[in-house]
Every structure is written in structure tokens, then in C-alpha cells.
């Protein structure tokens, strides 16, 4: 018994490492193949503006609750309102970005809502919104720690957009005790 314990303790983290590595390799290989085959452009080229918009909404609705854990209000109604406000703010802001950055983001949203490319980008067959919140966050972290520049950029770009959208809204400032002067009301 005394001998077993250290062995079990040693085996457990080992398994975790293997799983993580396998997932990581799969993510990397699949993403690499998709990029190498030039599949990335295909779904975006065939997606209508409405499909692009729908993809953006689905992806944002899946990622916002993960990224904003701990910041969102506890009350369910307030929480939904905060999420919707943030998603709408992202969608409204996109048009101000340079065309090239807009294209990159549209591409990312469509790829994440297309089965094969989503498998490549996330390592999952399931839609983002079908994944548990913890896995969505893990996915963002995997992008951050990926060796692929496009995934690192996707993480950094989405994080900035989503946090800007949330913390830009006065309704979300109460925990910050932030109250700017108002010379001209925002309408």
C-alpha cells in the first residue's frame, strides 16, 4: 500500500501529460494540413454575408461566456443582457478595422463554424457552443500557446475585441467603481 501510493501519484500526472500532448499534436497536425491544403479560403469564399454574420454570432456567443467568466453578473437575466450587449458591440466595431483584419476575422469565424476546419482548429467535432465552458477556455489557451502564428494571433485578436466590447459598456463598470464625467451624453 505504501509502495503503491507514490506509483499511482507518478502515473496520474503522466497520463495527463500524454493526453495533453496527443491532443496538442492532433490540433497542430490537423491545422497544419488544413492550412497546407489551402482549405482555409474555401468555406469563406462560398459563405454568403449572412452566413458570415451567423458564424460570427455563433462564435462570439460561444467564446464570450468563457472569456468573461468571473466578470459577468451572477443574475441570469443580467448575464444574458451583458453577453448580448458585448456581442453586439463586437459586431458593430468590426467595420472600423482595416479590411485585411476584417477578412482574417471573418475567415476565423466561418472556419470555426465549418465541421472539418473546426476539427483542425479546435481538435473537436462538436460546435463551440456544445463544448463545456471550461473546454472553450482551454481552447483559447491552446491557441495562445500554439506554435502556429495564426492561432496566436487569433487568441490575441479575439481577446482584445471581446474584452474591449465588454468593458466599453457603462453597465459593466460597477465592479470597477469607474464613473467618468459626462459632458456630452452618449446616445
Amino acid at each position: 500500500m505504501l509502495l503503491d501510493r507514490p506509483a499511482a501519484a507518478a502515473a496520474f500526472p503522466f497520463r495527463i501529460i500524454i493526453m495533453k500532448r496527443r491532443q496538442f499534436i492532433m490540433l497542430g497536425v490537423a491545422t497544419g494540413s488544413v492550412l497546407a491544403l489551402g482549405l482555409t479560403a474555401v468555406p469563406v469564399l462560398t459563405a454568403s454575408p449572412q452566413q458570415q454574420q451567423d458564424s460570427a454570432v455563433l462564435v462570439l456567443d460561444a467564446l464570450l461566456p468563457a472569456l468573461l467568466q468571473g466578470a459577468l453578473p451572477a443574475d441570469a437575466v443580467a448575464r444574458q443582457a451583458a453577453l448580448r450587449r458585448s456581442r453586439d458591440a463586437v459586431l458593430q466595431f468590426l467595420a472600423f478595422l482595416p479590411q485585411s483584419q476584417q477578412q482574417q476575422l471573418r475567415q476565423l469565424f466561418v472556419l470555426l463554424e465549418t465541421d472539418l476546419s473546426r476539427l483542425a482548429l479546435t481538435g473537436h467535432w462538436l460546435s463551440l457552443n456544445e463544448l463545456p465552458i471550461a473546454l472553450r477556455l482551454q481552447l483559447l489557451h491552446a491557441w495562445r500557446d500554439s506554435y502556429l502564428t495564426v492561432l496566436q494571433q487569433a487568441y490575441a485578436g479575439l481577446k482584445e475585441l471581446l474584452f474591449a466590447a465588454y468593458y466599453g459598456q457603462p453597465q459593466h463598470w460597477q465592479p470597477l467603481s469607474y464613473q467618468p464625467p459626462e459632458f456630452n451624453p452618449y446616445v
Binding site: 468563457a66 472569456l67 468573461l68 467568466q69 468571473g70 466578470a71 458591440a89 466595431f93 467595420a95 472600423f96 478595422l97 482595416p98 479590411q99 485585411s100 483584419q101 477556455l137 483559447l140 489557451h141 495562445r144 502564428t149 496566436q152 494571433q153 487568441y155 490575441a156 485578436g157 481577446k159 482584445e160 474584452f163 474591449a164 465588454y166 468593458y167 466599453g168 459598456q169 457603462p170 459593466h172 463598470w173 465592479p175 470597477l176 467603481s177 469607474y178 467618468p180 464625467p181 459626462e182 459632458f183 456630452n184 451624453p185 452618449y186
Partner: protein
């Protein structure tokens, strides 16, 4: 509240909004100025004063004190380049640049610093750009200081700046009280969203109104696309309106002819206009050697309230590390204003870790270290290129030399913040944690992997890309801002700087534009 712009326009100043044009347009003037920031604003006033018919073009909109909302969600898309989302090509450095009438002067933090002597010396030695003796910029610094009410900030620094001051005092480090271009400043802290009380003496409330009162015509929401030129002269400038998102809208053409053309669109857009125009470029330096003062960031938690959103954003700087004795890169220490979006987007971490820091918003103090790029072969700056839409992207390589500066900057900032009484220090880097002591921070910073995206880097100063030089093979413009090859073309903005400055650039640009414009008036009057 009195709004000098709305009042002036009601009294007959001429402002045209190109996005409202119904068909192709033609304009002519003595001098057309492309860009209404620090360089363009000064030139507009002096030329109008001298009796020249001036046309002043601005990509952004005309917003003034009655429009400015003290909210980032309004200010960033309306007043900043790319909605404050401008980035280097690989997206590793965020770039804050104004895009509104008054350019970056409308949204900057008012810090006014003369060009450092070692920078001027380097330009003299390396580029034959001589601003010593009878060519000194000193009289022009004085003129700008008088015109824009630049004075040492007389009130106590806000808590965010006070930490920088206290840390420097505790460690015996050099520090200076900053001079600011303000008149009747209420110490609000919202300079970055446009001054709501017209206290900041930006181009928007000083030189541009003076020029318009003398008959200068302002066209806003217009994007200058290309010069047509032949031999050694520009024939015309071609422009288009922009849409409600400030994207170039090629549905109609605007042709502008003038005796002289001044490019003052900032150090990314000015080189881009000249690249699109394929102007002669024998030095191969057009759009090259673009410097950013790439800045590393360090946060710290204090017991006391810092409330970094309140009070003059910058009132103290430290030059302790800006001119080191060895070859390593120097950095200037300052603090930024802290508003929710700026802070939330720069902070590392996600979910609860990020939310917990945001809940300590008013206890968070932030120092930035501006790396003095451009003085070493390993800090030769970036290159402006045109993308598939003919819009500029800045490719800025991050070298080991720069990363060494980032590490030393993290160390200096952490040491300073602990010396000023911080409970914890957090270098803004995705592998850093809240460190509880200087010893712990020192050990951890020594091993942080310094790579793009992991270290949050930002820039508010874009310089170079059309550098001045005595020799036409060493630069794009001469030491009076005139293009080396095209006689009736000048560049009057931060893109003429041969290196970064090691100081905030607005006062250098005011002085250079003033000097260049005086010379141009003499030449045009012959």
C-alpha cells in the same frame, strides 16, 4: 459650453465633408496639406497667415468639444486610426494614432518635450541633419510653447504619476515634471478621448481655427490616394471620400491641384501615400526605418487608491535609463492613463484571473517603458508596405536587441514599483504572475520567455519612413522637409524623423513644421 469650431463654422468658416459629395470634385489652392495633426496644423496657420490659399485635408471627421463623449466606446472608433485597433503586420504591437481633425494632437496626453540633445547629435553625425547653432530648433520650441501654452504642470501629479515620482525619489533615479500644452486644464484625465473643455491646446482648437479664420478650407472624411507627377513636379493629388467607418470609398474621384503639396498624414499613412504614388526613391528609404518607441508595460497593486483614470495622464517621466553608457537600448519611463477598455485589452490572462485584476481597477498602477529604437543596427525599425487593398501595414521586426531592452525595462519598472510601496507587481506578459517582492520579481523576470504575443507591446509614437537627410541617397526629404526629387512636394510630420526621439514627439513635430513652413513661405514668395 463654448465650442470654437461650431462657432467658427456658424460664422462662415469653410468646412466640407467629403462623404457628402454627390459627384466628382475638383479643387485648387496655393498649398494643399494632407493631414491635420501636429505637422499639418502648424503649417496651415503659418501659410494662411502669410496670405496663401490653403486646403487642409483630413481622413477623419471634424469632431469638437460638443461631440466628445468621455467613453472609450465612442472615442476609439471615432477619433483613432482603425478604431484604436491599428497593429503591426504580425499584430505583435498595438499602435495608438489619432485620425480626426487635429490628428493625434486631439487625443494625445499633452506631454511636450524638446528633442533630446543626443538625438540631435546622432542625426548630425549620421544623416548630416544639422540643427545646431544658427539652425537650432530652440527658437521654434519657444514659439510653439508660446502658441500652445506649453508650461510645466503646476498641480501635484495624480496618484499614478506620483508612484513614478516616489519610486524615482526612493531609488535616486532621474525624474522630471512634464510640460503640457494646456490652458485652463481641469485635471480630468480624459485627454485621450478629446478634451471636452477645450483646455488642451491641440491643433483642433489653436492653429486650425486660426487658419480657417484666415480663409483656409478644411475637407474632412477624405482619403488622399495618389499623386500624379512628371519629371520633378507633382501635377495633382487624387483623393476619394471615406464611408461612415472611415474606409476609402472609390465611388467618386476628387482631384486637387496646388502650387505646393505638403504630406502630413503621420508616419504610416504619409509613406503609404508616397508608395502608392511610386515617387522617385533613389535612397530606397521611403517607408523604411519606421520607429515606434515599442513600449513594455508593468502593472502594480497598491493599498491606496490609484484611480489612474483621474487627473492629468502624464506629469512625470524618468530618463534614468534612456541614454545608457553601453550599446544596449535605452528606455524612457512614463505612465499611461487607465480607462477600462485600454486596461482590459492590454492586461494578460482570461476569465477569473483577468476579472479579479479588473475588480482591483482603482488599485492598479501602470508604468510603461518606451524603447528608444533607431540608434542601432538591431533596432533599425520597420517597413511600411501596401496590402491587397492598397492600405499600409507596418512590418516591424522584434530583434533580440529589443527583447533585451524589454527584459531590462520589466526589471526597472518592477524595482521602481516596489520601491514606491507596491504590494505586488505584474509585468504585462502572459507567463508572468503577480510577484510579491522585488526579489521574487527579479528572479522571475530573468527567465520570462520574451516572444511576440506573450509580451504585450504598445506604441503611441510612430516616427520615420520619410527621413530627413543632407544627402539624397540617405533619405527621402531634405533638412527643410522638401522631397529630394519632387520640387513641389514636402513632408511635414513625424515621418521625417531619422530615428525615434527618446521623447514624446509632438513638440519636435511642432518645431520642425514651424521651421520648415517658414522656409517654404520664403521659397514660395520668390
Amino acid at each position: 459650453m463654448y465650442d470654437p469650431i461650431r462657432t467658427g463654422i456658424a460664422n462662415g468658416w469653410q468646412h466640407l465633408d467629403a462623404s457628402t459629395f454627390a459627384g466628382d470634385q475638383q479643387f485648387s489652392a496655393d498649398v494643399v496639406i494632407i493631414g491635420s495633426g501636429a505637422g499639418g496644423g502648424i503649417a496651415a496657420e503659418l501659410l494662411s497667415d502669410a496670405g496663401f490659399k490653403v486646403l487642409l485635408l483630413e481622413h477623419g471627421a471634424l469632431h469638437s468639444s460638443s461631440d466628445f463623449r468621455q467613453q472609450e466606446r465612442w472615442a476609439y472608433p471615432q477619433l483613432y486610426q482603425d478604431g484604436a485597433g491599428r497593429k503591426t503586420a504580425d499584430q505583435a504591437i498595438g499602435i495608438l494614432q489619432g485620425r480626426t481633425v487635429g490628428g493625434s494632437t486631439t487625443v494625445n496626453w499633452t506631454t511636450s518635450i524638446r528633442t533630446p540633445a543626443p538625438t540631435l547629435q546622432y542625426w548630425r553625425e549620421q544623416f548630416g541633419v544639422d540643427f545646431s547653432g544658427e539652425h537650432s530648433l530652440d527658437p521654434y520650441f519657444d514659439l510653439a510653447a508660446g502658441r500652445l501654452n506649453i508650461n510645466k504642470w503646476a498641480l501635484p501629479p495624480n496618484a499614478n504619476n506620483h508612484v513614478l515620482q516616489r519610486g524615482c525619489e526612493a531609488l535616486g533615479w532621474q525624474h522630471t515634471v512634464i510640460s503640457r500644452n494646456v490652458n485652463g486644464c481641469a485635471n480630468l484625465g480624459y485627454c485621450g478621448m478629446g478634451c471636452p473643455i477645450n483646455a488642451k491646446q491641440s491643433m483642433l482648437v489653436s492653429c486650425i481655427p486660426a487658419a480657417m479664420a484666415k480663409g483656409a478650407v478644411l475637407i474632412s472624411r477624405i482619403s488622399a490616394r495618389q499623386f500624379s507627377w512628371r519629371g520633378d513636379r507633382v501635377d495633382a493629388l487624387w483623393a476619394v471620400p471615406v464611408d461612415q467607418y472611415f474606409q476609402a470609398d472609390p465611388r467618386l474621384k476628387i482631384k486637387i491641384t496646388a502650387r505646393h503639396y505638403i504630406v502630413a498624414g503621420g508616419a504610416i499613412n504619409s509613406p503609404a501615400l508616397l508608395l502608392r504614388s511610386q515617387v522617385p526613391n533613389p535612397s530606397s528609404r521611403l517607408g523604411r526605418h519606421t520607429h515606434l518607441h515599442p513600449s513594455a508595460i508593468s502593472g502594480a497593486l497598491f493599498n491606496e487608491s490609484i484611480a489612474g483614470h483621474s487627473g492629468a495622464p502624464q506629469s512625470i517621466y524618468s530618463d534614468q535609463f534612456v541614454w545608457p553608457d553601453d550599446e544596449r537600448i535605452g528606455f524612457k519611463l512614463e505612465v499611461p492613463p487607465l480607462h477600462p477598455v485600454l486596461m482590459a485589452t492590454k492586461l494578460t490572462g482570461t476569465a477569473r484571473a483577468h476579472a479579479d485584476l479588473m475588480k482591483q481597477f482603482n488599485q492598479l498602477q501602470v508604468v510603461i517603458a518606451l524603447l528608444r529604437d533607431g540608434f542601432h543596427p538591431q533596432a533599425a525599425g520597420g517597413a511600411v508596405q501596401l496590402d491587397a487593398h492598397d492600405e499600409p501595414v507596418l512590418d516591424y521586426p522584434l530583434t533580440d536587441y529589443l527583447w533585451d531592452g524589454v527584459r531590462r525595462a520589466y526589471l526597472a519598472m518592477a524595482e521602481l514599483q516596489f520601491a514606491a510601496g507596491a504590494n505586488a507587481v505584474l509585468p504585462i506578459h502572459s507567463d508572468a504572475e503577480l510577484y510579491r517582492s522585488w526579489q521574487q520579481a527579479k528572479a522571475a523576470i530573468a527567465t520570462l520567455p520574451l516572444q511576440r504575443y506573450r509580451a504585450t507591446l504598445a506604441s503611441a509614437h510612430v516616427m520615420g519612413g520619410c527621413n530627413m537627410s543632407a544627402d539624397p541617397l540617405q533619405g527621402v526629404v531634405a533638412t527643410d522637409g522638401r522631397h529630394h526629387q519632387l520640387k513641389n512636394l514636402s513632408v511635414f510630420d513625424g515621418s521625417v524623423l531619422p530615428t525615434s526621439l527618446g521623447a514624446n514627439p509632438q513638440l519636435t513635430i511642432y518645431a520642425l513644421s514651424w521651421k520648415f513652413t517658414e522656409q517654404l513661405i520664403k521659397n514660395l514668395s520668390i
